[in-house]
Structure formats: structure tokens, C-alpha cells
């Protein structure tokens, strides 16, 4: 396998720039993480490619670059274009969001990012291909990876299938660490608007509780890498969110003027519904606990984060961020 830099004067580079510009016109963003360096992997037959931490793109010659040219079947071409669109969508958002109390800084945000980005990219690839000059291509087969299904379950939860795309469009615009907050904001608006006051403190606390419903117990298993997406997680996410929504509703029914007393990290070892939440929470983000070992994001680290990385040298530093759960009962 070799990695080859694509010369900016080459046909491959110009073709990619055209696709990238079309993708950004269809979904504009002030953020552009691509550093204009483009690479091809040659002879690495089982990797599609990705946006690299340094801001460059790297794509498979065989699976992507060759299939964007003249010699490809329609299905090969649509998958190459879906890959370009997927990666272009990654490049239009920041990963981190400084000082956001409901940010989820864990690999689980990456999982939601991947599921959501694939969900959106599959949705848009027909339009993208036609607008980019590839004509009408067939839809990709209706067979999706587990992360897609997990994202779909979350997107449909707040207000049903007809509102899923609206939620997705909001979430895909948010920094990667804030996608959970966007989805729970839709839940609060659609399922709890009659009880949760519009005051930002109440809204944030309610969202934090819903985030925590998907996050708690994974903190106890840091020595292993737990499953993070999948049909079981998708199904149980609904149950955990139902329970959390009811907890928020019960609280505001009894104490309408008191912000929801979201739990601290030390309180999360007692799940409300162990049967459901054990499975969910081994899979999803530890929002409440993430700051316990979260790197301190000083100016340098924020610069790193702006390039898609959090400096590992700051691992374990005391955090300066508010937690998504900050209030004791």
C-alpha cells in the first residue's frame, strides 16, 4: 500500500474540488476543515478513506478516485460519491465546543457523528450526484450499517419519522460533541414543552438528564471498549429516553419552578431501570462523567480541537468545563 499526494494541477484534484464545492453549496458552512491537501491510498483495497486529523483528505484510488472517472458501474460510482459527500460533511463542522455544559466528549459522540453523517449522506447522494454532473444514479441499496440504524432511532424519537430529517439537519450543523444536545433539545421541545419552562437553565438541565439517560453506566467499564451503536442500543435508547422523559415530567409536575436536579457523577451508579439502561449505557456517551478526566482545553488545546484533535498531552487534567449535570437534588 502506498499513499500518494494528489497534485493540485491534476484532473483528480480538480474533480474532487468540484465535488467538494458542490457539497458545500448544498449544505453551506462557515467551517471548512479541509487544508486543501489530497492523498490517495493505492493498493489498500479495503479502506474507503477519510478526513485526516491534520485536515487533509485521503481516499482510496481503487474505490473512490477511479470510480469517479469514466470507468465505473452506476453502483460503484454512487458509493464513491457517497464517500466524498460523507467526508465533505465531516469537514464542515468543528468537533469540540468550548464551554458548552452539555458537550459529550467521548468516542460515543464519534459514533453518533458517523451514523448521522452516513444517514444524511445517503439521503442526499442522488441530489449531489445529479448537481455535480453525474446524472441520475441509482439509490444505494437499502442496507445500512448499525450506526445508521442507531442514528435513525434517535432522530425519529423526538417527533416521529416525518421530523427526523429536520432533527438531522439541525444536528449535522452542530459541533460533534453537541449532537446529543441538539437531539435532546428536540425531545424537550416536542415532548416536554408543556412542563419544562423556557428559561435556559431549566432547558439545559432537562436536556442534560436526557443525555445522561443514554450515558451513565459506561463509565464503570473504561478498561474495555464497549459497543457503541447497534440495533440493541437503538431499541433500548428509546426505552431509556422514555424513562428519562417521564422523570423530567414528574419533577416539573411537582416542582415547576425548580430546575431539574440532574445527578452528579457520583450518583449515577444507581440506574432507574437497570434492565434497560445497563445495555444502553454501556453503549452511549458518559456526558455527566466526561469532565472527570477530560483534558483541559486551554488556548493551545482549543487550537488542536479546531483541527479536529484534542491534545492527548493534556489527558487527565482538571477540567474547566461545566458538566452537563451540575446540580444536586
Amino acid at each position: 500500500m502506498a499513499v500518494v499526494r494528489i497534485n493540485p494541477s491534476s484532473e483528480e484534484y480538480r474533480r474532487f474540488v468540484h465535488l467538494y464545492e458542490v457539497a458545500r453549496a448544498l449544505r453551506p458552512s462557515k467551517i471548512d476543515r479541509w487544508n486543501r491537501e489530497l492523498y490517495a491510498t493505492v493498493g489498500e483495497a479495503d479502506c474507503w478513506g477519510s478526513l485526516q486529523p491534520d485536515g487533509s483528505f485521503k481516499f482510496s484510488k481503487e474505490l473512490v478516485f477511479d470510480k469517479l472517472g469514466d470507468h465505473a458501474t452506476p453502483q460503484e460510482r454512487v458509493q464513491a460519491l457517497t464517500t466524498v459527500l460523507h467526508e465533505s460533511n465531516h469537514a464542515r463542522v468543528q468537533i469540540d465546543a468550548a464551554d458548552e455544559p452539555n458537550a459529550v466528549r467521548s468516542r460515543h459522540s464519534k459514533s453518533l457523528d458517523e451514523g448521522l453523517t452516513e444517514w444524511i449522506s445517503v439521503d442526499d447522494v442522488a441530489m449531489f450526484a445529479d448537481r455535480a454532473g453525474y446524472g441520475e444514479l441509482p439509490d444505494p441499496p437499502a442496507a445500512y450499517p448499525a450506526a445508521y440504524h442507531a442514528a435513525n432511532s434517535l432522530l425519529e424519537y423526538p417527533a416521529g419519522a416525518d421530523a427526523a430529517r429536520r432533527t438531522a439537519d439541525r444536528a449535522i450543523d452542530a459541533p460533534v460533541v453537541m449532537r446529543w444536545d441538539v437531539i435532546t433539545d428536540e425531545i424537550v421541545k416536542n415532548k416536554l414543552a408543556d412542563v419544562v419552562p423556557r428559561d435556559p437553565q431549566h432547558q439545559q438541565a432537562a436536556r442534560a438528564e436526557l443525555i445522561n439517560a443514554m450515558t451513565q453506566l459506561s463509565w464503570g467499564h473504561l478498561d474495555t471498549s464497549q459497543p457503541i451503536v447497534g440495533p440493541v442500543v437503538a431499541r433500548d435508547t428509546t426505552r431509556a429516553l422514555d424513562n428519562a422523559t417521564q422523570r423530567v415530567r414528574d419533577h416539573y409536575t411537582k416542582s415547576p419552578s425548580t430546575p431539574y436536579p440532574t445527578k452528579t457523577a457520583s450518583a449515577v451508579s444507581q440506574p432507574h431501570d437497570p434492565g434497560a439502561e445497563m445495555r444502553v449505557l454501556t453503549g452511549l456517551a458518559p456526558a455527566a462523567q466526561a469532565p472527570l478526566s477530560m483534558p483541559e482545553l486551554g488556548d493551545r488545546a482549543r487550537t488542536d480541537a479546531a483541527h479536529g484533535r484534542v491534545s492527548s498531552s493534556r489527558r487527565g487534567s482538571p477540567n474547566r468545563f461545566g458538566r452537563p449535570v451540575v446540580r444536586e437534588p
Binding site: A25, W48, T73, D124, R131, I228, M294
Partner: protein
């Protein structure tokens, strides 16, 4: 209206047709045609009309996955849901991706790309285990 915004409406209509069948086609087509004047250019309208013309096809239930696709889906799902150390899960995901490509190599030409595409997300999740955005999260430190 941007073409991307039109695509959002189209995608929602597409899913509704997939759920509700042929009866949902005509209302969806009308809803989308009414948006055409709001698009920013004739080129956008051309693409939008092509998207509208695809809608009736979504009333036909998709073909069930072939045995090879089912096999690949099973491999992808098992790898995604695997439990173990970071190194173990990286190895599981890499092996799953190779396995899915082997399955695709046995598939007809029109099916193989879709099978290979199941690895697009898996590849990224594996990369994130190798080089995580939040190192403290995936190595237990």
C-alpha cells in the same frame, strides 16, 4: 430555497412513501412541485424535478437483502457490537472489514459496491479507536 433544503423535504417525502405506499406519492409530488419556484436557479430546478420523478419508485418495497448482503450485514453488526479491549476491538473491526470485502468479491457486480459500502462507517469507528479524539475515553486512563 437552496437545493439542499429541497432535498430535506424530498427525503422526508421519500420515507413517508416507503411507509405508506403508493397513496402517498401524489401528495408528495404536489408538495415538492410547489417548492420549485422557490429554488435559486434553473439548474437547481432541473435536479429537483429529477428528484420528484424518483418518488413513485419508493412506493415499491425494496428487495430483501440477498444472502450475501445478509451475511455482510451480520458481520458488520457483530463487529460494531463487539466487546473487548481497544486492541481487541480494532482487530475485530479490521477482520470484519476484510471479511465483508471477501463477501463482496463473491457478489454480482451490481451488488458488490453496496456490500463494500457497509464498511465505510466501520472503517471510521476503527480509526477512531486507533487514534481517538478523546484518548482518555478509549484507553481507560
Amino acid at each position: 430555497m437552496r437545493l439542499g433544503e429541497f432535498s430535506s423535504v424530498h427525503a422526508t417525502a421519500k420515507r413517508r412513501i416507503q411507509r405508506e405506499g403508493v397513496a402517498a406519492v401524489a401528495p408528495a409530488e404536489q408538495e415538492l412541485r410547489e417548492l420549485l419556484p422557490q429554488l435559486e436557479s434553473d439548474e437547481d430546478r432541473r435536479v429537483a424535478i429529477n428528484l420528484i420523478n424518483r418518488l413513485s419508485g419508493y412506493a415499491v418495497p425494496p428487495k430483501p437483502p440477498t444472502p450475501l448482503m445478509q451475511e455482510a450485514l451480520s458481520v458488520e453488526r457483530a463487529a460494531t457490537e463487539s466487546v473487548g479491549s481497544v486492541d481487541e476491538r480494532i482487530a475485530i473491526m479490521a477482520a470484519a472489514r476484510r471479511r465483508i470485502f471477501e463477501i463482496a468479491d463473491r457478489a454480482p457486480a451490481d451488488e458488490a459496491p453496496g456490500i463494500r459500502a457497509l464498511t465505510r462507517v466501520l472503517e471510521h469507528l476503527e480509526s477512531n479507536l486507533r487514534d481517538p479524539d478523546w484518548p482518555q475515553d478509549s484507553n481507560g486512563s
